[in-house]
Amino acid sequence: MTTLRRRTVLQGMGVSALATALAGLPVLAQDRTAIRIGYAVPKTGANAAGAGISTIPNYLLWVDDVNKAGGLELSKLGVTLPLEVVEYDDRSTTEELVRAIERLATQDNVDFILPSWGTGPNLASGPTFDRFGYPQLAATAVTDMAPDLVQRWKHSFWMLGGGHDYANALVALLVKQREAGAINNKVAIASVADGFGIDLSKAATPAFTEAGFELVYDKTYPLGTSDFAPIINEVSGLGVDTFVAFSYPPDTFALTQQAVVANFSPKVFYLGVGTAFPIYPNVAGPNHDGVMGVGGIDPDSEALAAYFERHTALNGQAPDSWASAITYASLEILQQAIERVGDLDREAVANEISTGEFDTVIGKVKLVDNQLRALWTVGQWQGGKFVGLAHTERDGARDPVVPKPAWVPAA
């Protein structure tokens, strides 16, 4: 891991030196030695942990994969070029991110820019991508605004769905369980008071009500809450079979531990971001089995298994089972679009991304209205894998295990 980092640093330094040398010169095809990929990601600050799991390792893996394969073939230019990276730390602030993208676009003259991590940063950098005509492959943004945003920013692509997708899928899944008599009618929801939690709870609350569920608890808690004893204690006395938390990583883990300690073991235990993280089984111990959450993967896909292996080998950690594979798939889409266009014409590449069909680790993908609609929406830990239970488009989902196994008290 350390050696890898050192290499990227050297690479980054080399690139910026080169950029300074080349500044102002027109970049001609025959002068090219590489395809320049730029990104600004949070390496420090509040978003660093999230980006360190879903975004940065996949960027590294993709560059490594492409370069090991000899680079990208640009048929119109008659060359095959390796990828060269210019990376910046956006320090988890929007202001830095916007400026870094301006810099990548106009100083470093990179060919393509990869987006930062998270919904807010992707929304905030949308106009800047648009202004410089770079396609934006937002693989870690969950927003119901996507249909409007693609109208506003023609070359933006939204890959992780919106709050309604996840909420509706969850409700549909639970309706079936209720009809099968596996769970009762009572549901408790706790949501983190941040963009993600609110988007999902806003979609879920009416969906649950319309489906005839009784919402006996529906509250938010602030970002940064560390003690969930009050919430779990209250919910455990309400007789719910279904507990839903639209939570963020540290809360996701804390909620699990608190529920185990309080021996609150509802038949359906659903959590938000972080459930699909490879670290989750370490946190929850044997109790991870049967926990549901956002995301999921196809456990039978060989391409995905190979991706997991390569990712683990390069980064020293497994990818998460939600946004990681989609992030990697977004890069594969970019890669294939570039190769099909045969040069670095961003307009043409963006059009190809809009209209083409691509073969990725998550299967065959065709964007609908610039959005990835083929998504795993609900997953569950089964046999050590976070398998998909519900998919927006395709079958082949695993059946949920309801009730989940009862908690095993920690030793």
């Binding site: 420090t44 942990a49 560390s226 009050p230 204690n233 670290i279 370490n282």
Partner: protein, 290 residues
């Protein structure tokens, strides 16, 4: 329900108090507003994490390594970096400004080292996450442990400060650094020791917190600010104040979450903090400025 909320709140408050006591010692005696305090906590969490996951050492035993390490590290930080600043500043305002800048730098250094070694991701392990039943309320053993340690350390420190000669020296320096040398006290070494002791307490807090909280290299500042709030609310340099303020904040947070709305817990925390300062500008247990 009320009893349960109160117990849970006290236990949560115990963590806050434990985390804050070291800082109140550092600020109260050494006059250093240590912005890197939370990063020392996180460093200790990483220490306990590595000992536990790589070497299989129980965090309670791990404390025997991590706490002295925290002491030595803080001792060195003070001796190398802060002592020259303390010596050259004539007045307290100057040292405050300098120490803010210097420890702000230190914060980045510790965080940067942790980022290089451990990456930015979340770390977590599970230890003593077993339920303990107290008066019908289920509490996680690791959180209970934090509370017990807060009380033990608080009591131990209080005894040390009030019953030993060394404690008298520390209190003299805290009360009046200018005149302490007149009675033959070496202010430098007292301040250095207090700063190191504060670091040891931070390390203890870090180990305990790591047992039940998910942490990452960039989370130090959250602990710093929480600790500062507790310290200021209790009255700078006052151990009992830190303990009381920690418990109050824990109680408020839990009671609001249980009976009003979990969405308002942090707002209530800050509101209480601000209200205390508006009514008592020197904190709960602090002495008036004049």
């Amino acid at each position: 329900m009320l009893l349960s909320a109160i117990l849970t709140g006290l236990v949560l408050g115990g963590t806050y108090a434990l985390v804050a006591m070291g800082l109140t010692l550092q600020y109260g005696v050494a006059r250093i507003m240590n912005l890197a305090y939370g990063d020392v906590i996180i460093a200790a969490s990483f220490g306990a994490f590595v000992l536990f996951t790589a070497l299989g050492i129980n965090p309670l035993l791990g404390m025997l390594v991590v706490i002295p390490a925290g002491f030595v590290l803080s001792w060195l930080i003070y001796a190398v970096m802060l002592q020259p600043l303390a010596r050259r500043s004539r007045d307290r305002g100057r040292l405050e400004g300098d120490s803010i800048l210097a420890t702000f730098g230190l914060l980045f250094v510790i965080q940067g080292v942790a980022l290089v070694i451990f990456g930015a991701g979340f770390q977590s392990y599970s230890f003593l996450a077993v339920p303990v039943d107290i008066l019908g309320t289920t509490i996680a053993a690791n959180r209970l442990l934090a509370f017990v340690l807060a009380v033990v350390f608080g009591l131990g420190l209080w005894l040390m400060l009030t019953r030993t000669r060394f404690g008298t020296v520390i209190r003299a320096v805290a009360a009046n650094p200018a005149s302490a040398p007149l009675v033959g006290i070496n202010v430098d070494s007292a301040a250095r020791f207090a700063f190191a002791l504060g670091g040891a307490l931070a390390a203890a807090g870090g180990v305990v917190v790591s047992m039940y909280l998910t942490f990452s290299a960039t989370m130090g500042v959250i602990f710093t600010m929480k600790a500062l709030i507790v310290v200021i609310m209790g009255g700078v340099g006052n151990l009992m104040g830190a303990l009381a303020a920690g418990l109050i904040l824990g109680l408020v947070e839990t009671l609001v979450a249980s009976f009003i709305d979990p969405g308002l817990t942090l707002a209530a925390t800050y509101l209480i903090f601000l209200a205390v300062l508006v009514i008592r500008p020197q904190g709960l247990f602090g002495k008036a400025a004049r």
